[in-house]
C-alpha cells in the first residue's frame, strides 16, 4: 500500500504531514511513502533527509496523489488535483468541515474516504491522534512568545540598582489546552498570571500551574460533553464582564483562547474593556479564526486601538512549523495505524470504531 503527501500552499500553511522520523514508522508498517519534490524545504528539511529515511520523492503533485492509497495533508490539496485521487483511497487532514462543505462534497463524490481530524472524539484511546490538543498546546505556547516579543517592556520582575522593573501582568481567557499552556509559559517567564474560564474544574487546573483563577461567581454548570464548554447564559456573561473589566484594565497582556465546539467563539473582551487598557498593552486573540474572543480582532492583522495592539493570526502554528509538524505527523501516524486492519495490509473502515465513525465524512453535507 502506498501513502503520500503533497506540498501545502506554503503561504498559508507551513506545517507538513510527514516528517523524516515518521517515514520510518510507516515503512515499518510496510507502507510505501511518496512525497512531492521539495516537500519540507521551507522548514529546512531536504529531500535527501526523506530519501535517507526511505521515502520516495516524486516530481509532481499528480504523481504523488495518483500513487497513493492514503493521502495525508494539513489542508486540502489544490482543487484541480481532486481528479487524481484514487477511488476508495483515503484523504486525511484538518478540513474544517463546517466551513468547507462544498469542497468536501466534491471529494466525497469521487468515492474518496475523507477524514477530518477535528472531529476526533475526545476519548482516551484517541489521545495520541488528538490533533486539536497537540496543536492548541503549541498555539498557547506560541501566543505568549508572540506577545512578549511585541511587548515593549520586560516581563519578569527585576530589582536592580537602576530601579525595579515590575512583573508584567498576563491574563489568559479560557483555560483549555491552549490556555493552560499559555499560563505555564507566562508563569515561566516570571509574569503574574491570572486566568478565567466558564468550567469550574478549570480553577484547580489553573492553580496547578501556579496561576490565579478569576472565578465568575455563579452556580451554572458549564461543563459540556468531552470536557468542552457550553455556551454561557446572559447572566453569567454579565458577571464575567464585570470581573474581567477590572482585571483587564490591570493587565499588560491578554491572551484569548475561549472556544465552544461547533459555535462561534464567545465574545469576551469588549470594546469598553479595551478602552481602559494601558497603551502598550497587547491582546492576542487565538480564537480569531472562529470569530474571535475580542472586539476589533481581525485575522492576520494587528489592530492598534489607542496604543493597545490586538493581534489575530489565523495560523499561529506557522511560527513553529517544525514542532507543530512533528506532533501533527505523529498524530496522523497514530490515526493511520488505527485505520489499518490487524495485518496492517489494508485499510479497514470499521464503523464500529468511534474514532473512524466520527471522523469519516462519508455523507454529503
Amino acid at each position: 500500500m502506498n501513502l503520500g503527501s503533497v506540498k501545502e500552499n506554503i503561504n498559508l500553511e507551513k506545517r507538513i504531514s510527514i516528517t523524516p522520523d515518521i517515514v520510518k514508522k510507516y515503512l515499518n508498517l510496510k507502507l510505501n511513502v511518496f512525497l512531492e519534490k521539495n516537500y519540507g524545504q521551507h522548514v529546512g528539511i531536504q529531500d535527501k533527509d526523506y530519501e535517507d529515511a526511505g521515502a520516495q520523492i516524486l516530481q509532481s503533485k499528480e504523481d504523488v496523489i495518483k500513487k497513493s492509497n492514503i493521502t495525508l495533508q494539513v489542508d486540502f490539496p489544490d482543487e484541480n488535483l481532486f481528479q487524481y485521487l484514487n477511488e476508495n483511497s483515503s484523504l486525511i487532514g484538518l478540513f474544517d468541515p463546517v466551513k468547507n462543505k462544498s469542497v468536501i462534497n466534491k471529494i466525497i463524490k469521487k468515492k474518496v474516504n475523507i477524514f477530518s481530524l477535528e472531529l476526533l472524539p475526545r476519548i482516551t484511546r484517541a489521545q495520541s491522534m488528538d490533533v486539536l490538543s497537540s496543536q492548541a498546546n503549541l498555539a498557547g505556547y506560541r501566543a505568549v512568545i508572540e506577545t512578549i516579543y511585541k511587548f515593549n517592556k520586560a516581563v519578569p520582575m527585576m530589582m536592580t540598582a537602576a530601579g525595579t522593573i515590575p512583573a508584567a501582568k498576563i491574563l489568559i481567557v479560557g483555560a483549555g489546552v491552549a490556555g493552560l499552556q499559555a499560563i505555564a509559559t507566562a508563569k515561566r517567564l516570571g509574569a503574574i498570571v491570572s486566568a478565567t474560564d466558564v468550567r469550574s474544574v478549570a480553577k484547580e487546573q489553573v492553580e496547578s500551574l501556579g496561576g490565579k483563577f478569576l472565578t465568575v461567581d455563579s452556580n451554572e454548570r458549564l461543563e459540556g460533553e468531552g470536557g468542552y464548554a457550553k455556551e454561557a447564559s446572559e447572566e453569567f456573561k454579565i458577571k464575567q464582564k464585570e470581573l474581567l473589566k477590572i482585571n483587564i484594565a490591570k493587565s499588560d497582556i491578554v491572551i484569548c483562547t475561549a472556544l465552544i465546539p461547533g459555535k462561534k467563539a464567545p465574545r469576551i473582551v469588549t470594546e469598553d474593556m479595551i478602552d481602559v487598557m494601558k497603551p502598550g498593552s497587547i491582546i492576542y486573540d487565538l480564537a480569531v479564526s472562529q470569530g474571535g474572543n475580542c472586539a476589533y480582532s481581525e485575522s492576520d492583522k494587528t489592530v492598534d486601538k489607542n496604543g493597545v495592539k490586538i493581534i489575530g493570526e489565523r495560523n499561529i502554528l506557522n511560527k513553529i512549523p517544525i514542532t507543530a509538524s512533528n506532533l501533527y505527523s505523529k498524530n496522523l501516524f497514530s490515526f493511520v495505524n488505527n485505520l489499518l486492519n490487524k495485518d496492517k495490509d489494508k485499510i479497514n473502515i470499521n464503523r464500529e470504531d468511534e474514532i473512524i465513525l466520527k471522523t469519516l465524512l462519508d455523507k454529503e453535507i
Binding site: 482516551t124 484511546r125 497537540s134 493552560l180 505555564a184 515561566r188 484547580e204 487546573q205 500551574l209 501556579g210
Partner: protein, 464 residues
Amino acid sequence: MSANLLAIFYLISGVLFILALRGLSSPETSRRGNLFGVLGMVIAITVTFLSIGNFSTVFIYVLILLLLGGSIGALIAYKIPMTAMPELVAGFHSLVGLAAVFVAISAFLNPEAFNLGSPGDIKLSSLIEMSIGAAVGAITFSGSIIAFLKLRGIMSGSPIIFRGQHYINLLLGLSIIVLIFYLCTTQTDSFFWRIITISFLLGILLIIPIGGADMPVVISMLNSYSGWAAAGIGFTLENSALIITGALVGSSGAILSYIMCKGMNRSFFNVILGGFGGSTANKKDAEKKPVKSGNAEDAAFLMKNASSVIIVPGYGMAVAQAQHALREMVDTLKKNDIKISYAVHPVAGRMPGHMNVLLAEANVPYDEVFELDEINNDFSNTDVAFVIGANDVTNPVAKTDPQSPIYGMPILDVEKCKSVLFVKRSLSPGYAGIDNELFYRENTLMLFADAKKMTEDIIKSLNS
C-alpha cells in the same frame, strides 16, 4: 544457687530485655536486639531451673513440655505467611495470658510452694497480687482470642456494639474488685474462680466493640495487659525478672498503642474502650475492598532500602504543587545512593507537558526525566514506584478491559515494581472516573494525604 546470685541473674535478664527493645530503635541494631531478648530468656529459664535444683524425673517432663511447646511455636513461626503477622501476635498473646492465669491458679492452690502461706491462709498482699495477675491474665487471654478471631476473619471485623456496653464493662470491672476484696477477707476459693470467670467475660466484651482497623492498637494494648499480669505474678513470686519485664512490657505496650493511635489520628481512649463515636467510620470501611495504607515512615523506610526508585508524577502533584518537595525528597534519596528516575506519561496532568513544566520549575535535571517508551521496561527491575498524584496513567485496566473508557491507552507499568507507593488523598478515581485496581494489590501501599504534605513528611522521616 543463692538467692542473691539468682536475683542478680534476674536483673541481668531484665537488662537484656531492655536492650532487646532498645535494639529496635533502628533496623541496623534490631536483629542484635532480638538476640539480647533470646539471651535474656535463656538466662531467666536456666537460673530458674538451677534455683529449684531437683533434677528428678519430673525435670524430664518439664523439658519435654518445653521442647514440645517450643517446636510447635517454631513451626508456627516458620509456616505462617508474613501477612498473617497481626493475628499471630494476637494468638501468642492469648497463650501468655492463659499461662499467667494458670501460674496464678497454681500458686493459689499450692501457696506453700511459693512461700505465700498455706491454702486458706495466704498472705494478704500475695493474695491481692495473684488475683490481679489472674484477672489481667484472663482478660488478656479472652481478649486476644477475640482479636485473633476477628483478624483471622472467623469473626466479622466490624465492631459489635450494643447499648449499655460501657456500663456492663464498668459493672464487671467493679465486681472483680469487689470479689478480690471478699477473697482477701474470706479466703474462700470460689471467689477466686469467679474472679477468673468474670475476667474472661470482660476480656471478650472489651474487644468485640473494636473494629478491625483498630486491631493493631488493641493487640499492642493486650500486650501491655499481659505485661501487667506478669508483673503481678512477679510480685507474688517475689521474682524481679518478672517484675522488671512485666513493667517493661506493660508500659511499652501501652505507649505503643498510644503512639499508634496518634499516628492514625484516632483517640486512644475511643479505641481502647471501643465503639465510642468511631463506629460509623468503621462500618463504611467494612464495605470496601481492603487496601494497605501506610504512613510517611513506611514510605521512607521502603525507599531508603531500595536501590532504585521511579517517580511517577501526575495531576495530583500539580494540584498540591508538590514539585519542590518532591525534588527535595529525591535529593535526599540520592544521597543514599539510590537511583532515581522520573517517568512522565504522555497525558499525565491536564495539559500536554504539564509535568515537564513543573519538574523544570523544580530544577529536575532533564536527563532524569523519561517518557513512557523509554522507561516502561525498567519498572520490573525497580524496587519502588513512587506514584505521586497520578492515577489513570497507571491503571492496568487500560490493557485488559475493552469496555473501560481508557482502554487502549498505553500505561506506565508501575505494578511490575517490587513495591508501589500511591500518594493521593483518598481512593477517589482520577480524570477518567474509574477505579484503579492497583490500589488493592499486594505490593501496593497507599499513602493517603495531600501530595505536598506527604512528601514533606517523607523527607522528615528520611532525615531522622
